[in-house]
């Protein structure tokens, strides 16, 4: 609700004590009780990050405080967005290994001095306190959270572990078990959990912060004391035993070969978990080492790729009401996500039973996303099953998610003429049909485009905004902004068979089937892909997508592409005919009755060129879509592949991988494969421009 009365009164103002204007990145002031307020208000940004300058200036303020000791020190953020999002990652790029260790040591010294101050230090946290932000909070005596605050160490997602004292301060505060879990998984603890784990000493509404500070200064807030289990881990054996389990759990999700950081963190704890000073030195060394690893560099690259797509999704989408046509798996999830993100959604289908199932699924998605009861009620209230299609006339955006049949889609589009708002945008969630062909039946070609979501929509962030020949720039911009508004990452691409992602994935899946025909087992094939770093082998992926869908897309691509594709195996057609469609029917190439298969085969007997036969056709297709102008840049392709398919993120994306491996090497290898296996491996002309 944003009524004018509340708007007039304004948002709750942050209690910033007596601070004046910013001097650098900090605003400071002493109140009547001689409490020093240090308020972080980083220049030229809406979100605090912890940069070299932020630390250096903090150092100066602490030195001054040491000379003229205040009653207490309050540290908090002046940004509405939250406390601090972590270290300034762009600083990392400039650090050399030695330089990194020096800089880290200086920052550690500042935090150590805060910890040693002879007056109470109180950190007030609203919003997120992540990474280095969390580490500053941990150096204080008290942490007071405002409801909505969250704490976490997302460093592992960047191929790092905490580097500003988190590895010893958090275990000391909440015990090693919870602390290691937080640091190894990168998961954030929201206010309630943070309170129960002991990360925060009190949870206080913003309007009572001044009173809470006074209470803390007077010693009236009980400080959290670490539990007894912490002491047990003072023994080496206890840590070794616990570490064994941590290592095996971590290996499953993040194999050491590809993701060294969490394993390095476990090593640190086992070796130095009983010695803070040693741990501090080792943390600095380990962090500096990880900073230089390819994994971390590539994962930081992925972070920036995500930021770029987020930026593309900013702006006003002009969409408050979405109408989704078709309550199948895709339509249902699109509708549910849009409703969860605040859109008014009508979901049309002539089958009321399908609409019923859709609401059941939407409720499950709300639960999976940990919505509160009220949030879930509101999301489901916004999602209206619409068997009569009332929403069409009111929708700003109509998303067609009907069965993938051109005649059916054309019929639907023709039926929409005269029913939509004049300004409404119509999109098709097609994965295999030509957007330009479909546009001929649309009520308005300029306000028509493709909007290709990936299955399952609730978990895959990427959406391809497919701009047809006639699609207007405004339409494409609105759609990108719509994706941003519903928490998705848009890439705007041109109409092309398979667009970007499916164009690259289909040869990967088809080659796997050729290999199976040659007698290589599906487990060996999938294991090779997994070892390369793909989240899922091509055979498992085909089953997951649905063999019927895969066959349809493969046929469509084979017919419409100029380039040579692997032949479609008879085995695939037979399975589709027999109704073994993969995960959704319980059986495809794998038997899914016991859940997702986890192939882990011995690769000793595997063909030498197995991995390249799977991976290089994807790279080759990426070179093709870049040459054809389907995507605008190698980075865009890398982002699309990583955020749609989970393509080995620690390798930085397919184009980045090709570059790192050497484009000449890729071309040479493709030539060898072409000689051995045929023209489908012919190196794309686009490589010459990339070499």
């Amino acid at each position: 609700m944003t009524g004018h009365v509340l708007k007039y009164l304004g948002e709750t103002k942050l209690e910033l004590g007596p601070v004046g204007d910013a001097d650098g990145n900090w605003r400071t002031g002493r109140d009547d009780a001689d409490v020093l307020w240090l308020v972080l208000d980083k220049q030229n940004t809406n979100m605090n990050t912890i940069s070299k300058d932020v630390i250096r200036e903090l150092d100066q303020h602490i030195i001054a405080a040491e000379k003229n000791l205040p009653t207490a020190i309050v540290i908090r953020s002046a940004k509405k967005a939250g406390f601090a999002a972590g270290a300034d990652i762009s600083d990392f790029e400039a650090m050399t290994e030695d330089g990194a260790a020096d800089l880290l040591q200086q920052a550690h010294d500042v935090l150590d001095r805060i910890e040693a101050l002879n007056c109470p230090t109180i950190c007030i946290v609203h919003g997120a306190a992540l990474g280095a932000g969390f580490e500053i909070a941990l150096a204080c005596d008290y942490r007071i959270a405002i409801p909505g605050a969250s704490f976490g160490f997302p460093e592992v997602q960047l191929g790092l572990h905490p580097g500003l004292g988190g590895t010893f301060r958090l275990p000391a505060l909440i015990g090693p078990t919870d602390a290691m879990t937080m640091m190894l998984t990168g998961k954030t603890a929201h206010t309630k959990r943070a309170k129960s784990q002991g990360i925060v000493d009190a949870v206080v509404e913003e309007r009572h912060i001044a009173a809470a500070v006074t209470a803390a200064v007077e010693g009236k807030i009980d400080k959290h004391e670490p539990g007894v289990t912490s002491r047990a881990f003072g023994f080496d054996q206890a840590r070794s035993l616990a570490a064994r389990k941590m290592r095996s759990e971590t290996e499953k999700k993040a194999p050491k070969q590809h993701y060294p950081a969490p394993h390095a963190l476990i090593d640190l704890w086992v070796e130095h978990g009983d010695n803070r000073d040693a741990m501090q030195k080792a943390e600095i060394q380990s962090f500096a080492r990880l900073l230089r690893s390819d994994t971390s560099k590539n994962l930081r690259r992925v972070f920036f790729l995500r930021q770029n797509l987020k930026d593309e999704g900013r702006g006003d989408d002009g969409v408050s009401h979405v109408h989704v046509i078709g309550a199948g798996a895709m339509g249902t999830e699109i509708a549910a996500i849009a409703a969860i993100k605040g859109k008014i959604v009508t979901l049309g289908d002539i089958e009321t039973e399908a609409l019923g199932r859709a609401i059941g699924t939407a409720a499950k998605i709300c639960e999976d996303k940990h919505l509160s009861d009220i949030e879930m009620r509101d999301a489901l209230d916004r999602l209206m099953p619409d068997p009569r299609g009332y929403g069409l006339a009111q929708a700003d955006l109509v998303i067609e998610a009907a069965t993938e049949r051109e005649d059916l889609k054309e019929k639907i589009f023709k039926g929409l003429k005269g029913k939509l708002k004049k300004s409404a945008i119509l999109v098709s969630n097609t994965s295999s049909l030509s957007v330009d062909d479909l546009a001929t039946s649309a009520p308005s070609k300029t306000r028509f485009a493709g909007l290709h979501f990936f299955n399952p929509v609730s978990r895959i962030d990427l959406v391809e905004v497919v701009k047809g020949d006639a699609t207007s720039a405004e339409t494409a911009a609105s759609l990108a902004a719509f994706c941003g508004a519903i928490g998705k990452l848009p890439v705007t691409v041109a109409d092309y068979p398979g667009f970007v992602v499916n164009r690259a994935l289909v040869p990967y899946m088809l080659e796997a089937m050729v290999l199976m025909d040659e007698g290589v087992s599906k487990e060996v094939i999938d294991t090779a892909a997994l070892r390369f770093g793909m989240p899922m082998g091509p055979v498992t992926l085909a089953d997951q997508v649905g063999l019927d869908v895969g066959l349809h897309v493969a046929q469509s691509l084979s017919e419409n592409l100029k380039t040579s594709m692997p032949p479609i195996s008879d085995d695939l057609r037979e399975r589709v005919d027999a109704g073994d469609l993969g995960k959704k029917s319980g059986k495809g190439f794998y038997d899914w009755s016991d859940g997702t298969p986890h192939p882990d085969a011995d690769l000793d007997e595997a063909p030498d060129d197995l991995t390249d036969r799977l991976i290089l056709p994807m790279l080759n297709a990426c070179a093709e879509v870049l040459r054809e102008g389907v995507a605008q840049s190698p980075d865009q392709i890398d982002a699309a592949m990583i955020f749609a398919t989970g393509w080995a993120p620690f390798r930085g994306g397919p184009m980045h991988y090709a570059k790192q491996r050497g484009v000449d090497d890729v071309i040479a290898r493709l030539r060898e494969l072409q000689e051995a296996h045929g023209p489908r491996f012919t190196a794309d002309d686009g490589w010459s421009g990339l070499a």
């Binding site: 609700m1 009524g3 019923g356 609401i359 059941g360 209206m384 009332y390 006339a393």
Partner: protein, 431 residues
Amino acid sequence: MTDPKNQRVYLVDGARTPFLKARSGPGPFTPVDLAVQCGRPVLARQTFDRTAFDLVILGCVNVIADEMNPARVAALRLGLPEETVAFSVQINCGSGMQSIDTAYRYIRDGSHQMILAGGTEALSHAPLTLRSSAVEWFGKMNTAKGPLDQAKAMSGIRPEFFNPVVGLERGLTDPITTLSMGQTAEVLAQHFNIDRKTADAYAMQSHHRLAAAQSEGRLRDELMPAFDRDGNVYDHDDGVRPDSDMEGLAKPKPVFEPPYGQVTAGNSSQITDGASWCILASQRAVDQHGLEPLAEITDSQWAGLDPSIMGLGPVMAATPIAQRHGFGVDDIDLWELNEAFAAQVLSCLAAWNDDAFCRDVLGLDKAFGRIDRDRLNVDGGAISLGHPVGTSGNRIVLHLANAMKQRGAKRGIATECIGGGLGGAMLLEAV
């Protein structure tokens, strides 16, 4: 309307949920959930914005603790602006009609242009309440200080504390006469000589009429399917028994006054959950938004009588309307007379057809006349589809408007009896 100061008031559109029979335990929807379920589609099919509403009024008898002022909760959940005032009304079984009548009077008096008026009830959610002796004990337990005090308080526990009061049962009992609603129907049956067989035959016809209305699509625009979180779809009034026959209706024993009574579960209204909304608009709003009203609301009336014969409420409320306009029985093309009990409906008809009653009680010269059964409850009623008490009054007005339009009728009256000894009636005319 002859007075130029009086605005004309139209019933523009409306929709309801299916009426869902209360089975064991609470149903899938709370009162506000139900109001949201049918409110969303009816708002979605309008050509005007939600900001066009000046007011939301919702009738509801059994308000649950989580939804105080259900009108306001429903309005906000339906996406109406926070500036739109919403209040709830309660006049027992007349609540859903009270909301329409209040809206009608506000618009007629010129202060409002467009009002969303509804009724909702989830009888399956009617609470179990603790006996007051148990509440007292619970209070003592809570304030007891120290283990000794607590032990002392604990010893006061009595088995009957765990025998809660069924809210629904209490709600359907008249507090003045202590008669249950079913008993008031027994009283009328005796006065007007309605026998079991006649009542059963009426009930059977109610089921057959509703079944025909369902299968012939006459409820298509009126009844919007409801969807719960478990993926279930509710797309029809599920209490209907299309194959209802006299043999089956003869089986159930009298529930309210066994063994000699004649009001059974079969010839009484069903206990159900359901909601209904009507959109009322002034002439100005109709013109401004280019609306096509279903009917015009031209009069309304409430009346009171002894609670023990509350079933005659329709006679007491509808007759003054007919008198005011000089209508004879043939001037009313369609009637919706809420079917609380078959014996009660038949008693009303008998009263109107009784010279002495009409002369002595209603002040007419002679009997009002025999209401043709082909004009009465033409698509079934509460006996076949149920009686969510706060909703029924809204439903009968909405259905009367739809039935008038479908049948090309000129004039109709929707009327109901109200527990506690009241009656309500509204006059609708074709546009």
